[in-house]
Symmetry: C2
Subunit: 568 residues, 2 copies
């Protein structure tokens, strides 16, 4: 490693540089130009642009050289991959840095979850910057593994890889001035404060911004996004597995405001990352939708770097890290090579980069205490029950009321009418909390599906056609110490073990993708026709999202944010 004075000598051209990227068509996101030059690198840092001598030369033969891409907002748990395996998925797509909200880990493991992600993201060919989760638990209506207050977040805010406070999802709490929420904003002073305010407009949006929030990634239309941009929010253009807002937001962007926008994926499945791409997909799509390529690449690089104060990332200039992508055309933008600190870490979709040999694991998180008799629903004599109706591809649900099917004085599932029984069991502190309800939309004809991924508290959630399979699925998840299973008639049809916090697999990327595919296939074989049965299942416990949800505390009227009864 050379000290700064030695590097300056290299920059002055007195000594040859370690490495030179020659004949590059440099995408200069600072001057807004693309032009041919050479880029000299020393100790992983850019030391100069121009005509340098070097010990080693990489001749790009006129290919484009741009800064590596940056995701402005992501929950890495949504890929169900460890950070190293996530890197294996996205580095070939040109991703160089991630701003992540380890919100799911924090709901299960508290500060230990944040420490785990800080630890497990070290020494990777991909930089991770952490936003401290601000909404753990999501509401008082679900029992998470932890509760994080402003005082807790304060313990970690000074870490140099902590870029700020993560999405303030309790947006009414913020605009109404709840002390707990304002305190979380306060500790983030001098760092970024992320927002999350779906549909918030008008005066309450003004109050939300006034309170100190600095970004939003929830806009689904240009009117909403423009209002947020006008009030000073940095707009994260979201394009994930299910939430796909980019096409609708592109008309927002013009020559005078693009500096206030970044790309984000929020949640994206491993298979989608591998097959469709990551931020490169956003760039490709934005260019196809008519954005000038230089603007698309600024939105993917320097804009998030500046907003989140990721120093020395996001541009090709002296002092910046030599984090590069190489590609051959702007019209059909495809990353051919990815460099991290001057080292080739991916090429032609392959990932030759080294990953840490050992996968670190956090503590075990399955701590259940339940009595199967509590799954029984006695008939009450009332004529109707409240049932959760799934809306395919959405995380909101409908609340419907139907006549219960009753046998031996108990309300049971009714596959003829697609009414499955659901059970949610608290799994963090062995409270014995059990919520029981009914759901329509899975269309299972037999068996049950179950998961320890269940937003946001990530308790055990099961939907099944009969109590025996429901119990069997729960026992199987306990045995696996977290995961997702499809069972029928006392047999495991497919299982995805998620030993890391019950959220993430310890398997390498190809094996993980195979397990996920097999699991979905098994659910489909049981009769389900949803595109992503387990993702749908995982959102049925999310208490702040309308209309009807089931948590370990029971059936939740999520519109009124209060408990409700099964029987009407």
């Amino acid at each position: 490693m050379r000290n700064l004075q030695q590097k300056l000598s290299v920059a002055r051209g007195e000594q040859p540089a370690e490495l030179l990227f020659k004949n590059a068509r440099v995408v200069n996101v600072l001057s807004g130009e693309i032009y041919k030059t050479n880029v000299a690198v020393e100790d992983g840092r850019i030391i100069g642009l121009g005509d340098y001598r070097a010990k080693r030369t990489i001749d790009l033969k006129g290919a484009y050289l741009a800064p590596s891409l940056i995701d402005g907002h992501f929950h890495v748990e949504s890929s169900m991959l460890t950070a190293p395996e996530f890197a294996r998925a996205v580095v070939p797509h040109g991703t160089g840095a991630m701003v992540i909200d380890p919100h799911e880990y924090a709901n299960v493991l508290g500060l230990d979850g944040i420490r785990y992600i800080l630890e497990s993201t070290k020494n990777l060919p991909l930089d991770f910057f952490i936003m401290l989760p601000s909404c753990v638990p999501a509401t008082h209506l679900e029992t998470a593994g932890a509760r994080l207050t402003a005082d807790d977040l304060k313990l970690m805010i000074a870490d140099e890889r902590v870029a700020g406070v993560a999405e303030l999802m309790n947006f009414p709490g913020v605009f109404l001035g709840a002390k707990s929420e304002l305190a979380k904003i306060k500790i983030g002073k001098g760092k970024a404060i992320d927002g999350h305010a779906p549909g918030l407009r008008g005066k309450n949006l003004n109050a939300y911004v006034l309170a100190g929030v600095g970004s939003d990634h929830e806009s689904v239309g240009v009117g909403e996004a423009r209002e947020k941009l006008r009030l000073g929010l940095h707009i994260l253009l979201r394009e994930g597995s299910t939430e796909r807002n980019l096409e609708h937001l592109i008309p927002l962007i013009n020559a005078h405001n693009s500096q206030n926008c970044s790309f984000a994926t929020d949640d994206k499945l491993a298979g989608d990352l591998v097959n469709e791409g990551h931020i490169d997909h956003c760039v490709r799509k934005a260019i196809k939708l008519g954005l000038p390529p230089i603007t698309a690449l600024q939105i993917a690089t320097i804009n998030p770097a500046r907003h989140y104060r990721l120093h020395n990332l996001g541009a090709i200039a002296p002092r910046f890290w030599a984090d590069f992508i190489v590609f051959d055309g702007l019209k059909n933008f495809q990353v051919r090579q990815t460099y991290k600190k001057g080292v080739l870490v991916a090429e032609n979709g392959k990932f030759p980069g080294k990953l840490p040999a050992k996968i670190s694991l956090p503590r075990s998180t399955m701590n259940l205490h339940y009595a199967p008799k509590n799954f029984i629903v006695k008939a009450s004599g009332k004529k109707k029950i409240r049932v959760i109706e799934i809306i395919p591809q959405q995380i909101i649900t409908k609340a419907i009321s139907v006549a219960p099917k009753i046998e031996n004085g108990e309300v049971i599932a009714d596959t003829a009418r697609d009414l499955l029984k659901m059970v949610v069991i608290e799994r963090h502190r062995a409270t014995g909390n059990v919520g029981v309800g009914f759901v329509r939309g899975f269309k299972l004809k037999t068996g049950a599906i179950a998961s320890t991924v269940a937003h946001d508290a990530h308790n055990v959630i099961v939907a099944g056609t009969n109590d025996a399979d429901i119990l069997f699925a729960i026992q199987e998840l306990e045995r696996l110490q977290g995961g997702q299973v499809a069972v029928a008639s006392g047999k495991v049809k497919a299982a995805l073990p998620l030993p890391i916090a019950g959220l993430v697999t310890d398997q390498p990327l190809p094996k993980a993708m195979k397990l996920i595919d097999d699991l979905n296939a098994a659910a489909h074989a049981l009769g389900c026709d949803l595109a992503a049965p387990f993702m749908t299942l995982s959102f049925l416990a999310l208490s702040p999202i309308p209309s009807l949800k089931l948590t370990d505390q029971g059936l939740i009227d999520a519109t009124k944010l209060q408990k409700t009864s099964l029987f009407l």
Copy 2:
């Protein structure tokens, strides 16, 4: 004063706001739009945009409302005004915030000079942010009142009104890796680091940037500016009294890079500020030169605010200060009203704003020790002397050699050939240092002119036609405790007392302008035909600027940065 929770209630519309700017055509520098809306203000802060109720309403009747203007780099001493009187000059032109380098005060008073400027800029209708002077003294070839090292700067860097480290004028020291200069950059970590690198290009420029410099205001042409922008420097488009680079730099700016540019004036005289304008002049000129008005206004507001991290300045959005300008047209941009924290502080060129009643003064700074016999230059027998030749309107000089005029064995001034005698006397520590030389270009026929403003060390500098008037001028400056005088035949023709560090007048703006005009008129009456005789005089001691200069240490070959002899 309302607390945040009360302000949130106003933002939500539950209570009327204190003040509403109604029917405004808001220049939204964040969304890059101009559109009609209302802006609600509480306790000097913007709390919401939209349809608000208020206790008091200002109906703008469709006039434009933009954020107040910001100067990205200025030496307030160049106006020779105190900070309050400077505010009186520029606030009617719409200036709301200044990033200043109190470099002249620091050369005279050291850290006390910086403390003085921090103190004297409080409670004004204009915000001042301070960059810590990095080049005191300018070189080892002049004796300033102080020497500031990185350790000294460290004592003040944490002040919240300190925005970083000021222009690193010793640019060779920086790109060559001098420890003293790298140390100054290091203490500015997390704040802005300003550069100053006239004409620096190529590899040495790469090294200068690599060392940590973040801006430059010295580009005079688009090629130089583009190279600096490409390497990551924030470009300050300078338009001062004499250095006028804006017209030449406008072609640099396009839709993809304007966010990396700000306006700056660097040095501007009181009269020019009042008559021509300040940053409003830059906006006006930029629009006339073809820049989109929204871009010109972004360059004048949000861009410097972001670069220098001036939180809550430079935009009209919730949480920002209600620092506004009102104007009636974009094509002929003229500021009609200026508001500071919601209060009208200037209107139609008038300044009804209140200024602090008492002007604070730093300690006295005139500490001379000299013997008039040291002004005598004995003939040496050599045939030629080195003479400084003034180049009008420039701070560089020419070195010429001429035959000396000799009387009674002494070299004396020769008005027939426009050769005046010059004397520089150290005035800070009574060292007794005296430099004597000769200058061509002032064209005085009689008398002498003298100044305690003499860049950068600000010693006493005199140019005169005879030794008696030279001595009289020095005595007069001593009596005034700093200033500028024109004398002839033992009489004061005009005097501008500068009791504040020998740099700045304690007089109110109109009186100061009158004194300055009278002083220049007196110099012209003595025969001088330069536009600004005293400004020219003040740069003749600036040792780092080519070619030949005179300091208290003697004649300086500024190209080689070493002393030289009078006789060839």
